[in-house]
Symmetry: C2
Subunit: 128 residues, 2 copies
Amino acid sequence: MRDLTTGVRLLSEQQRDGDLFSARCPSRDVLKHVTSRWGVLILIALQRGTHRFSELRRKMGGVSEKMLAQTLQWLEADGFVVRHAYPVVPPHVEYTLTPLGVEIAEKVEALADWIEINLPRVEASRSQ
Amino acid sequence: MRDLTTGVRLLSEQQRDGDLFSARCPSRDVLKHVTSRWGVLILIALQRGTHRFSELRRKMGGVSEKMLAQTLQWLEADGFVVRHAYPVVPPHVEYTLTPLGVEIAEKVEALADWIEINLPRVEASRSQ
């Protein structure tokens, strides 16, 4: 059973470590979904607005249809993404961030931005 | 060849997408390392201070020796972690964040904190 105090902002180090560092911690699944290779890119893409499945696929170099669909299902189940299927032929399916999704996308994008901006410093480390 | 302007803070959307969304983008490797299951936890653990290999392993529920060593090697090559091996018997190896590592660890931790704090909202979405 989850300790209710973990919802409080000021987590003690012991609470934090006891949580995220535990193999059974439910935070790990969410972390896995949003930081997966395609999860990060989906969240950033959807921050720019609603996308169709085919648009997302085109935007992400190298993603397979299966992996894109799987990652979207994770994000939908976690409440970060809403899927809207229009009853038309051919099928028209759109994906949009929820308010919860907008919040986490900001954190994910802050990390991605840092990496892009500091990549020259990382590459300098590698060449040493 | 990498576009030099991507090092500038104000990236246009086109530059960003052309970068991170490209399969050949070098940012992707860094993103993969720091958001890997163990990469996240190592960065957060080392934010609390220097750790020995055995201490890190104990702290992370479920990590194998091989995966921990592999992830530490990635983070060391990227310039986020410094490895110090003392010439003693038995071997004594310590890991510490570099200044670059401290910066990225802050972004990674902000994301992890968000997830821990908002987990009840995510779990409420799942149960719907």
